[in-house]
């Protein structure tokens, strides 16, 4: 029985261009207090455009109704559990939004004199030191704008260190369970990618690793806990294998929500890592960004960090550009500062104990789901799990029902699906990450929904394969979208 939702009326809404009518507008500007300039005279007639063809003409209330109606077509954390594995969809505290909008922070210009930006610099310094304590690393840059951007920065740091030792090497080793961004990143940093097969426990195979680590290997990119939600128990041994050959270890920190306050990558030998502030540290995903991807490193990498770095000059903080070995800039200015503010607010609210408690709750929630659903779904790697659990659709697929179908049916039950068909090493994966946000009440609703769907697979499989039924939009023809791409509105379309 579907308990979490029932149908209600949803507003229709055309595209904004279809709502447009000539002469309407939703803006006000003050009266110009200087003489109006003739654009053709000031810019040259050839440089002045005609009207922006097709641009909307709508009133303020049109704008509010348009976007409010569209918003109701979205699922969101604010509506309930969002169990996307490896995405850490946790509650986004609203105080974080308020403080990021304080005038002195939101209107600070990146080029205003440092003496007039001490507040912003102190926020960055406080966040830097907190993140170093949480990760057990020595130095950090807050410049990268997201996780993949952090990965690229991190691999460029690896390359810079190796170059300074005389040989940048050629290859990056990446486990077959890795996020797709890892191989893409290594390629952009100019490295060849070699995949490392996991063992039958879903862990790095130390023997295979030893054979792969040659003088050509620059680094291993590892996610820990890995994408199965399993802690790489041999991580210290793996690090030793790499270090013995002069290679380095990069950690993708996407799953740091399993470790904060419990274990520190710096303590288990990681050389370079990134954090996803929009995962572990609660800054909102916003439908796909903005994020924050700070990169924390061991001391040996510090000279290579992107410029500028924060530096204390007596009481004053300053931005240090005089770093001759730096890899350069990876982004203009100093990073997604507004995201940094939100992440610091989260850390201040939690404190050390609070971070640890959040981690424990996140791991407990994942274990609870695992134990409740294990009788119904195949668990391909039955290792103890951390903050997420990965099932396969092995049993269901024998009845012709795939993980993607179950995911779509979950939507009818009022939930966002889990991560579908990832990691690739699990055939037909269901990757579930509940986060610490969820109460037992919400988890039980989810568990009941999953069990009900298992019954439907036995009794009424059509209900599952044709799901979702109750959404305003049913399954979208993605093949047609890709075959003949329509990527913009045109009049009459």
């Amino acid at each position: 029985m579907i308990k979490k939702v029932r149908k209600h009326i949803v507003q229709n809404e055309p595209l904004i261009f279809e709502r447009s009518s000539p002469g309407k507008n939703g803006y006000q500007l003050p009266t110009l207090d200087v003489p109006e300039v003739d654009p053709a005279a000031a810019l040259g007639a050839e440089n002045v455009r005609r009207e922006i063809e097709g641009f909307p003409e709508v009133s303020e209330v049109d704008v509010i109704r348009h976007f409010t109606r569209l918003s109701t077509w979205n699922y969101a954390i604010d509506l309930g559990l969002y169990p996307l594995g490896s995405c850490t969809m946790k509650y986004n505290p609203r105080v974080n939004e308020l403080v990021a909008r304080l005038e002195g922070l939101a209107w600070a210009h990146p080029y205003q004199p440092e003496a007039l930006a001490q507040g912003a610099l102190r926020v960055m310094q406080r966040l830097e030191s907190a993140l170093l304590e949480i990760t057990g690393m020595d130095a950090i840059t807050l410049q990268p704008a997201a996780g993949a951007h952090g990965e690229l920065t991190g691999i460029l740091l690896v390359r810079a260190l190796l170059e300074s030792r005389g040989n940048p090497r050629k290859k990056i080793l990446i486990p077959d369970s890795a996020h797709g961004t890892n191989p893409a990143t290594a390629a952009i940093a100019g490295y060849a990618v070699e995949n490392i097969r996991s063992n039958d426990q879903g862990l790095i195979d130390l023997e295979a690793l030893s054979q792969s680590v040659t003088e050509d290997v620059g680094a291993l990119m590892v996610t820990n806990p890995n994408t199965l939600g399993v802690f790489e128990e041999n991580i210290v041994e793996a690090v030793d294998i790499l270090h013995a050959k002069g290679a380095l270890v990069y950690m993708d920190g996407a799953n740091m929500n399993a470790l904060a306050g419990v274990a520190r990558p710096g303590d288990f030998g990681i050389d370079v890592m990134h954090l996803n502030l929009h995962k572990t540290f609660s800054t909102p995903h916003g439908g796909g960004g903005p994020g924050g991807g700070p990169v924390a490193v061991k001391q040996i990498f510090a000279p290579f960090l992107p410029v500028p770095c924060l530096k204390a000059n007596g009481e004053q903080l300053t931005l240090d550009y005089d770093r001759p070995q730096s890899i350069g800039k990876v982004r203009a200015f100093y990073g997604n500062f507004g995201v940094l503010v939100r992440a610091l607010a989260y850390i201040l609210a939690h404190g050390g104990d609070g971070l640890r408690n959040a981690t424990i709750d996140a791991v407990m929630n994942a274990n609870y789901i695992r134990h409740k659903l294990a009788p119904y779904f195949d668990l391909p790697y039955p290792r103890p799990n951390m903050h997420e659990v990965v099932f396969s659709d092995d049993r269901q697929s024998r009845k012709g029902i795939r993980t993607g179908d179950i995911a779509k049916r979950l939507i009818d039950y009022g939930f966002h699906p889990y991560t579908v068909s990832f990691p690739l090493i699990v055939h037909g994966a269901l990757m579930i990450e509940p986060t610490e946000t969820e109460s037992k009440l919400e988890l039980d609703l989810f568990i009941d929904a999953m069990i009900d769907i298992c019954k439907e697979i036995e009794e009424t499989p059509d209900l599952v394969t044709k799901a979702p039924h109750d959404t305003r939009t049913t399954r979208v023809d993605e093949v047609a979208a890709a075959r003949k791409p329509v990527l913009r509105w045109t009049p009459g379309s």
Partner: protein
């Protein structure tokens, strides 16, 4: 819940971790604080930053943010949703991105636009790599009048792509690109020519002439913009092949440099080489119009090391701010806003005699009688933040200051600046 997992104590959850890996002592962080104390902490930090009227531009502009923008982006359905992979319950986000892509095309004169990049600076190397893939060439020619930080980011990423970046000069009289220098550096290995307009000095560049030269050698023209409001008045760069820009001017607060939203737009034929996410129109099983992420075979989660880019998370919510802004101002409003910017800057420029003779939009270089730092110190005494001293990025222009005036700049502030500049 622990009991359901067959455990008695929470610590058992971590019993399987190797002993030497588990943290021995608690994190050395202060205890958590209340909401009130958090607000108080950040209010204190905000107060340490000056919030004065300012003549700073240089890639980050002070424009009024209509109230409705934050009303929309504060809706939990937009704020707290993930990337719209599950199209059935993400039509809100998908529709707004489709509208965003459309408006970026209308604004820039391009055929296709992606769902956003991190910012303008990172859009530039992505555009350069795209041009290298399209042309099968590797040399990049970037104008010295492109934002210095954008060029720095380009250098960082080009270094390991086997993509040498060479810079070409500006005309010391007009402040625009030196077409002769550009032509002398173009050759059959050139993948792209990168120009910015209005350029870092605020000068409107000769886009068509640059495009003609680039195309003569089989290279692409990448057009960069940092001041999106200029597109309310300026001819769209239709002769360019790829446009890489920054939308901060569209209701995105300066926020000490981010988060902003970058864009990449291009001619239709380059669509398969675009980086980042794209939303396309389709239908659902009932025949209703519906949107979904599309052409994902370009992207990292499918193609892995063969992807067009490693970008995953982008700047969706910030792009939504820009979408709401473009919708509110619309056809007439963006033009009027641009006209106000032009008029303010030319009021100031009329009194300060710009260093360069090329046409300018809302920024220009001026050379005060005293050193820039001294001028800025005197302005600060009057609670005004002066312009950007150029010596840091252009040693040959060390006596110059880059000044910006927007619709938020008052005539009275400009009159004060004129007095100080002429002292």
């Amino acid at each position: 819940m622990l009991a359901a997992c067959g455990m008695q104590a929470r610590e058992e959850l971590f019993a399987h971790l190797p002993k030497d890996v588990v943290l021995k002592s608690p994190l050395n962080l202060p205890p958590g604080i209340s909401e009130y104390e958090i607000v108080e902490y950040f209010q204190a930090r905000a107060a340490e930053n000056a919030s004065y009227p300012s003549f700073l531009g240089a890639g980050v502009y002070r424009h009024y943010r209509p109230v409705v923008v934050d009303t929309v982006v504060s809706r939990g359905e937009f704020l707290t949703s993930y990337t719209p992979y599950q199209a059935e319950i993400a039509q809100g986000t998908l529709t707004t991105i489709f509208e965003f892509q459309t408006m970026i095309c209308q604004l820039t004169g391009m055929d296709v636009a992606n769902a956003s990049m991190y910012d303008g600076s990172t859009a530039v190397p992505e555009a350069a790599m795209m041009a290298a893939r399209v042309t099968g060439r590797n040399r990049i020619l970037a104008a010295r009048t492109v934002h210095p930080e954008y060029r720095a980011v380009l250098r960082t990423f080009a270094r390991h792509q086997g993509m040498p970046v060479e810079e070409f000069a500006y005309d010391s009289k007009t402040g625009g690109i030196d077409l002769a220098d550009l032509e002398s550096r173009l050759n059959k290995q050139t993948a792209a020519v990168i120009i910015q307009s209005p350029n870092f000095f605020g000068i409107v560049e000769q886009v068509n002439a640059a495009a003609e030269l680039a195309h003569k050698f089989g290279a692409l023209l990448i057009f960069v913009f940092t001041e999106a409001v200029s597109l309310g008045l300026l001819e769209p760069p239709a002769s360019a092949d790829i446009v890489a820009g920054e939308l901060q001017s569209f209701a995105i607060s300066p926020s000490y440099g981010g988060p902003f939203a970058g864009i990449i737009a291009a001619k239709e034929k380059f669509i398969r080489q675009m980086p980042g996410r794209l939303v396309g129109q389709s239908v659902d099983t009932k025949g209703n119009r519906a949107f979904c992420l599309t052409l994902a075979t370009r992207e990292q989660h499918i193609r892995r090391e063969k992807a067009t880019s490693n970008i995953c998370t982008n700047q969706a919510l910030i792009a939504l701010m820009a979408t709401v802004f473009m919708t509110l101002y619309g056809k007439e409003g963006l033009r009027e806003l641009a006209l106000q910017n032009l008029s303010k800057a030319h009021y100031l420029g009329g009194k300060l005699k710009p260093r360069f003779s090329g046409p300018y939009f809302n920024e220009f270089v001026a050379v005060p009688n005293q050193p820039p730092d001294e001028v800025n110190r005197q302005l600060l005494e009057r609670k005004i933040i002066g312009g950007l001293p150029l010596g840091r990025f252009y040693p040959e222009l060390a006596g110059g200051v880059l000044l910006c005036a927007t619709e938020m700049t008052r005539r009275s502030e400009m009159d004060v600046a004129v007095t100080v500049f002429q002292a």
